[in-house]
């Protein structure tokens, strides 16, 4: 029986092909020869059985054949009709046997024919290839194949993907495969119930891939119809022309596109049409000189329309009538109403969860912004709160710290070491600058806050220009070490960069250090004493001048460290400080002067406020800052002394 079959097969082959040595064919060559006509013909319509036969053969080298075929490296040798791999070798082709992989020598190009699969066939081949890649021994390649499918999903991948799940050994890859299978199912499975089940399985999932897969299912197109919504339309919602979702112009355009309305002319179009029909000083019987209002032009156009010189256009009355006679609606592109509804429901539930997660993300953002403001403001809180000295050059101390960090990085190449060096160096530099400024300027202006404000402004102007002269106007980079790159990601929505975490930690450290110094050290005790009653402190043997100098130096030094931190994520320019100064002052004022917790609360409030406003109006950060400042001005109406206010006689009222 078997022998008969083989003999018959051999006869068939003989008839079909002019080959001489088919006995020596390898199994793949045999298969190829069986589908020789289809392969050589390269038609999208007839090729499928050939590819299916290859893919289904279970032969080891099939994947290679398909790849070569796809890459147009599969040729037919003219001499004997044998399928070979060929690679160009100068003018000639180097041939390789398909089954054995032996070199078959080289032939001139004319002696072989290239099989050129068109793009349709190539995508069929690619789809067939997926199953081989999905079962590749190397897990990395399997994952790559999954990625490739996820990037460009299609219905053909569904079957091979399902086939590849059972044999998967790696649990992580298997989970991914199953997830991708459901993603493909919900889009491409012909069975509605299967799709709905797949959609439902994603309820509560926040992955962007899920949303990307579901969104096309709920995509709508805008349509119009006369009278009422036609049968069989999968309507998402009805629209009112002129409402928020459907501007009149769009409704008109829909009507025009549906052929229900003549085109509505714009002012420019009407003008062009009229100009084209100017005839000896008049248009359609109207004198050109009279056409200086739109009403006159409409009349002239209607006259032209009546005489057939211009295409008809809709009048206002026609537009109104057509609008009244039509309904407008959004229709799902997805034909199955059940699927669309379920997808919409899942998306809605996802949206709620996303909103919650976005709120968490926003909170993280706001916290990190708050910690930046806190860092920038804590030095001010010391100088302003403890000494009642306004230092408008505080922003420039921040800038000085950032530039110190930059200079240190020029000397020390290792980013980790350089940052660790930069922090104390920046503190030292700005501490010194603060002490010098206190000795030369501030000391002479105690109890004259407005003059201090202006004098420190003078210093701020000078320092800013000095930085510009030294470092130029372009931004200088302050690079963070590699271990601060990247972000801590919780899910597709919630993530926070390590650098912001580091700044948050730094802010907490500073809070702790500040509290320690003020509450637990002799210096802190003396500072508080001088703050509360300078004369009394002096008579107790405290040198208020020295304390003030140290306090001011401390505030300035902290500004320098804040500068390094801010420089890590913002550009270091001479304007760096002035970008933060107003917000820093707002932080101190809103929080309540003379209280570190107030500063913390102020920074938190301003950080959250700014992020909140940006979230409401994401396109426009400038406007967000404007609104924030206005809010603060109004806030100060209700709490002129800040969130935490000193009351009674201590307020010095």
């Amino acid at each position: 029986m078997m022998r008969h079959f083989l003999a018959a097969l051999a006869c068939l082959m003989l008839l079909a092909t002019p080959l001489r040595a088919q006995d020596s064919f390898g199994p793949v060559q045999t298969l190829l020869q069986q589908h020789r006509d289809a392969i050589v013909k390269s038609s999208r319509k007839t090729i499928e059985p050939a590819i299916a036969a290859l893919a289904g053969s279970g032969l080891a080298s099939v994947a290679q054949v398909l790849e070569k075929w796809q890459d147009k490296a599969l040729w037919v040798r003219e001499a004997d009709g044998l399928f070979v791999y060929a690679a160009p070798q100068g003018d000639a082709l180097a041939l390789t046997d398909i089954d054995s992989g032996e070199a078959l020598g080289s032939v001139p190009k004319a002696d072989a024919t290239q099989i050129k699969p068109n793009s349709g066939i190539r995508s069929l081949i690619a789809a067939a290839l997926v199953q081989f890649q999905l079962s590749d021994p190397d897990p990395a390649r399997r994952l790559a194949a999954l990625d490739a499918i996820a990037r460009d999903p299609s219905a053909t991948q569904l079957a091979p993907l399902r086939a590849a799940i059972a044999d998967e050994t790696d649990p992580a890859v298997k989970a991914q495969k199953e997830r991708l299978e459901r993603l493909l199912t919900l889009r491409f499975d012909p069975d509605e119930a299967a799709r709905i089940a797949a959609i439902a399985s994603f309820r509560g999932d926040l992955g962007q891939d899920v949303r990307a897969a579901l969104n096309p299912l709920v995509a709508t197109t805008r349509r119009t119809a006369a009278g009422g919504v036609p049968e069989g339309e999968n309507v998402a919602r009805l629209l009112t022309p002129g409402g928020a979702d459907l501007p009149l112009s769009e409704a008109q355009a829909l009507l025009v596109a549906a052929g229900a309305l003549q085109p509505v002319l714009t002012i420019a179009e009407r003008r062009t049409a009229l100009v084209a029909n100017v005839d000896g000083g008049s248009v359609g019987g109207f004198a050109v000189a009279d056409l200086d209002t739109e009403t006159a032009r409409v009349l002239a156009y209607e006259a032209l329309e009546a005489s057939g010189k211009v295409p008809p256009a809709a009048s206002d009355a026609e537009v109104t009538a057509a609008l009244a006679a039509h309904v407008f609606y959004d229709a799902y592109a997805e034909p199955s109403a059940l699927v669309a509804t379920e997808a919409a429901a899942v998306l809605r539930s996802a949206e709620t969860r996303i909103a919650i997660n976005q709120a968490i993300d926003l909170t993280l953002d706001a916290l990190s912004l708050a910690s930046i403001y806190f860092l920038a403001a804590i030095g001010l809180a010391i100088t302003f709160g403890v000494m009642r000295v306004i230092n408008m050059a505080h922003g420039e101390f921040i800038m000085m710290g950032a530039y110190t960090g930059y200079v240190v990085q020029q000397v020390i190449a290792n980013y980790t070491v350089s940052i660790l060096v930069a922090l104390p160096v920046a503190f030292a530099v700005t501490f010194l600058a603060g002490v010098v400024m206190e000795r030369l300027v501030i000391r002479r202006l105690y109890h004259r806050p407005l003059e201090t404000l202006l004098a420190t402004f003078g210093i701020s102007i000078a320092l800013q220009q000095l930085a510009k002269n030294i470092f130029g106007t372009q931004a200088r980079p302050l690079t963070s070490p590699a271990w601060l790159d990247g972000a801590l990601t919780f899910n597709d929505v919630v993530s926070i960069s390590y650098i912001r975490i580091a700044i948050f930690v730094l802010a907490l450290v500073f809070l702790a250090v500040f509290l320690f110094i003020m509450k637990r050290t002799r210096l802190g005790l003396e500072v508080r004493a001088v703050q509360q009653n300078r004369a009394m402190a002096a008579s107790m043997g405290i040198n208020p001048d020295r304390i003030n100098m140290l306090t001011f130096g401390l505030g300035s030094g902290i500004a320098g460290i804040a500068g390094v931190a801010i420089g890590l994520f913002a550009k270091v320019t001479s304007e760096l400080g002035s970008d933060y100064i107003v917000q820093s002052f707002m932080t101190v004022v809103v929080g309540g002067v003379g209280n570190i917790w107030g500063t913390l609360l102020g920074a938190t409030m301003i950080g959250f406020l700014q992020k909140g406003i940006e979230w409401l109006n994401p396109s426009n950060t400038l406007a967000a800052q404007t609104y924030m400042i206005i809010f603060i001005i109004i806030f100060i109406q209700f709490r002129p002394r800040g969130i935490i206010a000193l009351k009674g006689r201590a307020a010095g009222d």
Binding site: K647, G648, R649, A650
Partner: protein
């Protein structure tokens, strides 16, 4: 006798500290009253409440024949209603002439537009000169207030108070840092003023209070401890205890 000012059960707390504790007080339209009390008794806070600088947590302050509540009025409205205040430290406008200080205090319309278009008439100059004579500064009208001596500034401030023509004068330690002669002059000024209006003097100095010869209210820990003639209250054992700290 009708009352001009009545303070009813007023309390005020600063950060947990009760500065004024259920204080009640009343004074008639032409009466001199001295308020004495140790440091921290709430004397200055009492004045702050009456003049509108501090809002009490509870209680009421009623003013005049129609018993208007002062709690709803601002400092300037209270001042316009007829309550003048002299601070502990002399507060005159040191950068301005003595005449300018007095002119500013004259009882004339106080709203910005009226002030902007105000140009002093002969009568105004005459009144300023009269007041200056009364407080003994007639020769110093063209001098800056900052150049005056401490006592002269006190008188200038009293002169400014009189120029306001208030119905109630609140005077905080008018005799502090004065020589004996200056004190006598000050006493005369106050006694003269009390003939036509109510005067409340807050003072530490018992001699000075004795010179005023009027009813005395003793404050302690934000409440009235005793009230009566000076001799009467100095006999009060509680007052003696508070003052001598027994």
């Amino acid at each position: 006798m009708s009352t001009l000012l009545e303070v009813q059960g007023v309390s005020v707390t600063f950060d947990g500290f009760r500065a004024i504790n259920n204080l009640s007080f009343a004074i008639g339209p032409a009466e001199m009253r001295a308020i004495i009390g140790p440091n921290g008794a709430g004397k200055t806070t009492f004045m702050d409440i009456v003049t509108g600088k501090t809002r009490p947590d509870s209680g009421n302050v009623l003013w005049g024949e129609r018993s208007v509540s002062l709690l709803r009025l601002s400092e300037s409205q209270i001042a316009q209603a007829g309550i003048g205040r002299k601070f502990q430290r002399p507060t005159v406008f040191e950068d301005q002439l003595v005449s300018e200080n007095l002119m500013m205090a004259l009882r004339r319309p106080r709203n910005p537009l009226a002030v902007l278009f105000f140009r002093p008439a002969r009568a105004d100059h005459a009144r300023v000169a009269e007041l200056a004579a009364e407080i003994g500064l007639a020769d110093l009208l063209g001098r800056k207030a900052g150049e005056l001596s401490h006592g002269q500034k006190q008188w200038l401030e009293i002169g400014m108070l009189l120029a306001q023509e208030p119905r109630l004068l609140l005077v905080d330690e008018p005799a502090a840092g004065m020589t004996l002669a200056e004190r006598e002059h000050t006493t005369r000024l106050l006694v003269e003023a009390a003939k036509t209006r109510a005067v409340v003097v807050v003072e530490h100095d018992m001699d000075f209070v004795r010179r005023l010869d009027c009813r005395v209210t003793v404050l302690h820990e934000g409440a009235v401890l005793a009230e009566g003639s000076l001799d009467f209250v100095t006999q009060n054992p509680q007052v003696i205890e508070v003052y001598l700290g027994r």
